[in-house]
Every structure is written in structure tokens, then in C-alpha cells.
Point group: C2
Chain length 154, copies 2
């Protein structure tokens, strides 16, 4: 059996998310609902601009600023995780952050979330060697998923 503890992303429903927003003192508005719905429509990582585009077409025509603000809110409420790829482009994943890392397919975006973090020992060691107070780390893994390998998209 594996030690990676792959985790299925806990899939929240729209109402659960809206509950959570309320609990944190956020209002439940039309535009916000539309953003939540759009976010739930994605199982793969998406960028803020993608969402802006989708929602600009939609019936409600949500503004750019609102989309960005809502993404921030959703991330702060643990409905979304924001990750940054090595080339510096941020994208969002639905699912709570917490201590989690991701394995992403560079071609199709398929994402596997895992909770095993090999950093604990290293961090302790670095801290005792350097006397840094360690606060954060990045760790994301990139590769090609089996489907893309088979499809010869490599």
C-alpha cells in the first residue's frame, strides 16, 4: 500500500460553500453564487482569466474585479487552493488547501492531490543547521499522466 495518502478532493456542494461563506461573515450575492457555480464546473486547474472569460459571456455578466475578489475570498475560506507553477503562472484548484501538494499533468491538467509531505525532516534539519525560522515552502510535482502517455501526446 502507498504512503502517499492520495486524497480525493472533498467535493463541496454549492450550498455547503455558501454556508461556509456566511459563517465567515460574507454575504450571499448573485454574482458570488455565479462564480461559485463556475468554479464547481471545473475539475482541473483553471486560471482567473479563464473564469473571467466564462462569466463575461454568461447571463449575468460578472465583472473582472468581482471574479478576482471572489477567488480570493474562496481561497481564504478554503474552498479553493491557489498554486503557482514553476513558470510563475498561478492557477486555482477546487478543494481545500491545508497541508497538501499536487501532482499535475503538464499536458491535460489532470491533478492528483497528496498529503504526504517529505519536508518535515528536512525542515527540522534546515532549521537546526541555519537557525532560520522556517515559515513556508513550495512543493509541486509536474509530469505526464498515463492517459496522455498512452495517447502519445508526449
Amino acid at each position: 500500500m502507498s504512503h502517499t495518502h492520495e486524497s480525493t478532493i472533498t467535493h463541496l456542494t454549492e450550498t455547503e460553500i455558501e454556508q461556509r461563506l456566511k459563517q465567515h461573515g460574507y454575504r450571499l450575492t448573485g454574482p458570488r453564487g455565479a462564480v461559485v457555480e463556475a468554479v464547481l464546473g471545473h475539475t482541473r486547474p483553471f486560471t482567473a482569466e479563464q473564469l473571467v472569460a466564462e462569466l463575461a459571456d454568461g447571463p449575468e455578466a460578472i465583472g473582472r474585479a468581482t471574479v478576482y475578489r471572489t477567488l480570493e475570498v474562496l481561497a481564504s475560506v478554503d474552498v479553493l487552493t491557489r498554486i503557482v507553477s514553476p513558470d510563475g503562472h498561478p492557477s486555482y484548484l477546487s478543494g481545500a488547501p491545508g497541508h497538501r501538494h499536487h501532482l499535475l499533468c503538464e499536458l491535460c491538467g489532470t491533478t492528483v492531490t497528496f498529503t504526504a509531505c517529505p519536508m518535515t525532516d528536512l525542515i527540522a534539519e534546515l532549521a537546526s543547521d541555519t537557525h532560520f525560522e522556517i515559515r513556508d515552502h513550495t512543493l509541486e510535482v509536474f509530469g505526464i499522466c498515463p492517459a496522455c502517455q498512452q495517447a502519445g501526446r508526449v
Copy 2:
């Protein structure tokens, strides 16, 4: 004794760097020399825009595009490493990449390079669990260095 194998960054001289550029088929131009010199002046991480600003003042007035292009060239020739912080802002470190990771002070930029990478086992495990072909990973550590802690800048 530590297992982190902290490494001093191999400091190349200007001529060594220019040798290396030549070996890779790049020409040795005035502006390029100026960028190299400016890069060597930094022991801490710096951004492309910082360098642009520095060099705009200088006697030679190097253009923005040239600075960006040269940084790319220097990174491709292993004179610089480009790292991206969790907030998505890229910066450059002088020193070859290779398999290296960094511990950066969030306040003053002091950087410790280490070669111990705890990823090897995890990668093998992830690969066998998911059948991804793993190609890349990010791993950078952030914290507060002892000097900044003492200075109470925390």
C-alpha cells in the same frame, strides 16, 4: 553533522562567464558584459526590473528588452537560477541551478542553497502509484534568517 549539504554558491568570474557564453555560441557584446557585471554585483536574489533600473542609470544605458533577454541567456547557460516565490514573483540568483533548492529569508533575502532533496523517494512512490511520468518539481523554503530574528524585524 548535517545532512543538508549546504553548498556555497560557486562564484564565477566575469571572464569565466564570458567564456561560457562563447562556448554556447553567444557573442560577447558590450551590453551583455554590463549585465553580467551587474549580476555579479548581487549576492542576494534580485528581480529583472531591479536590474533594468540599475542599468538604465549606468553609463551604457542598457535597454529593457536586452536585460530580459540576457537574463534568459544566462539562466540557459547555468550562470543564473530563476526561482518563483509562492506569491508568483520570480527572482534570480547567481549560481548554477542543477539539482538545488533554496532557503530564503523573507525579510532580507539571505539565501542558503542546499542540495539535499527529500523528493527522490516521494517521486518514485508517486510514479508507481499514479503511473505519471514525473518530469519536474518545485521546492523552495521560506523563513526568517537569524539576523532578522535578532534585529527584531519579525
